[in-house]
């Protein structure tokens, strides 16, 4: 089926492209990857949906010219900037009480089984809890599937820097998930 290609999440090639106009008609091709990235940034599926929609709304406000950059890398950068804008705006608003944690455990109606639903929510929550630079590197490369070069370009850092950040993000994630696994494993 056609969807299988998208599931495979191949690393993109990292080729440079000349300056060109972003084609709004192809933006939908990246929706799944941006949604995953947004979920990993926000830690909440509902917030992720809003974030992706706002990102698309921003991008479509006016024609966009890309220079030596792939669509996905550009969209990821807009998504990240939109995320931080939302965080700043939220910080200025009065806070409401969060929902109880138990609700998260029954929220994923689309996952194949409840244990997988919990696993997804847990993983995205752990990624969202990483420090910003580490989280962004892991989202760009392991979640969205950008090459190291594309990720460095999208996040405006050196390739060596993003690689080091990715290492440390994975290291923290492995520790956290390992702790969680040992905490819930009986005996």
């Amino acid at each position: 089926m056609p969807a299988a290609a998208d599931h495979a999440l191949p690393r993109t090639a990292g080729m440079s492209a000349p300056a060109r106009r972003l084609d709004p008609n192809h933006l939908g091709d990246h929706l799944d990857r941006l949604y995953r990235a947004a979920w990993a940034l926000c830690g909440s599926r509902e917030d992720a949906e809003d974030l992706v929609q706002e990102t698309y709304a921003r991008v479509l406000q006016k024609p966009r010219i890309l220079r030596s950059e792939e669509d996905l890398g550009y969209l990821l950068r807009v998504l990240r900037n939109t995320h931080f804008s939302r965080l700043r705006a939220a910080a200025r608003r009065p806070r409401t009480d969060p929902l109880p944690d138990e609700l998260d455990r029954v929220a994923d109606a689309r996952a194949t089984t409840p244990d997988k639903a919990l696993h997804s929510a847990e993983l995205y929550a752990q990624i969202a809890a990483l420090p910003d630079p580490f989280r962004e590197a892991l989202v760009a490369i392991d979640v969205v599937g950008l090459s190291y070069r594309e990720a460095a370009r999208a996040l405006r850092v050196r390739e060596a820097t993003i690689t080091t950040r990715l290492y440390r993000a994975r290291q923290r994630l492995a520790h956290t998930l390992g702790d969680h696994a040992s905490a819930v494993t009986p005996g």
Partner: protein, 256 residues
């Protein structure tokens, strides 16, 4: 093995391990780094951590798709289509002819949404990617209309779900999945809300416990699932093939 000067710098080790873990390390470097790892229990443990994180992330992200609601919200933001060239005009004329023919036969002039209009969606393009189910699944994942899943027909009938689209007309949500067979295609639309009235030229029959309304001239079959109208439409597809698809319940695992 004694670490090289290069690996006396921790950040350099980290970068090599990160790339070794996900398979992007340059082949010319791979042997050297693997040799270093083989000679150090500490590096082996650090590489295991990297691989564990990579595997955990990829196992989750590979199965998470954007929800249907987000596809619909994005589409509402999409720009209007551009003007097309002459080839598109030819295709559009042909498509319009098919639509007019279908509407004329199935009574598209009636007020409100009709079976004809729902069936005409078979000529529209897919806008949503459809995923495959896992293992022995009989329904398409992540895609429901009025709470009803769509069948997965590939294993049983060799009809591959090629894409989907959603529309809203006359107070009804219409969700359509396009299936592709050898040289043919069918569109399966679930129309939410009050059931659609039958049009002229219909025959009614009962098969496998399902009451089906058949329009032989236009290649359309309709039936109800939990009160919602299902419209199966295929151009050039034998009615018997449509009927077989329409009544398949996946050994009772597809809700009707």
């Amino acid at each position: 093995m004694r670490p090289s000067k290069r690996h006396s710098r921790p950040a350099s080790v980290e970068r090599d391990l990160a790339r070794l873990a996900d398979g992007t390390l340059d082949p010319s470097e791979r042997e050297r780094v693997e040799g270093l790892v083989a000679g150090s229990a500490e590096l082996q443990a650090r590489l295991r951590e990297q691989r564990y994180a990579v595997a955990a992330t990829s196992s989750v992200v590979s199965r998470e798709l954007a929800p249907l609601t987000l596809h619909m919200r994005r589409r509402s933001l999409a720009p209007r289509p551009r003007r097309r060239g002459p080839l598109f005009a030819v295709g559009a004329i042909a498509t319009t002819g098919v639509l007019l023919w279908t509407l004329a036969v199935l009574g598209g002039s009636q007020a409100g949404l009709t079976v004809a209009q729902a069936a005409a969606l078979r000529e529209r393009p897919a806008t949503i990617v459809v995923a495959e189910p896992r293992d022995d699944g009989v329904t398409l994942p992540h895609l429901r209309a009025a709470g009803l899943p769509f069948p997965y027909w590939e294993d049983r009938f060799h009809w591959d779900a090629a894409g989907a689209r959603t529309d809203r007309r006359g107070g009804h949500d219409e969700t359509t999945v396009f299936y592709r067979g050898p040289g043919q295609s069918v569109a399966y639309t679930i129309v939410s809300g009050r059931s659609l009235p039958s049009a002229a030229g219909a025959r009614t029959l009962v098969r496998s416990g399902t009451t089906l309304v058949v329009y032989p001239k236009t290649g359309v079959v309709t039936w109800l699932r939990r009160g919602h109208t299902c419209v199966l439409s295929g151009r050039g597809v034998p009615i018997q093939a449509l009927l077989k698809l329409a009544v398949w319940r996946g050994s009772g695992r597809i809700p009707y």
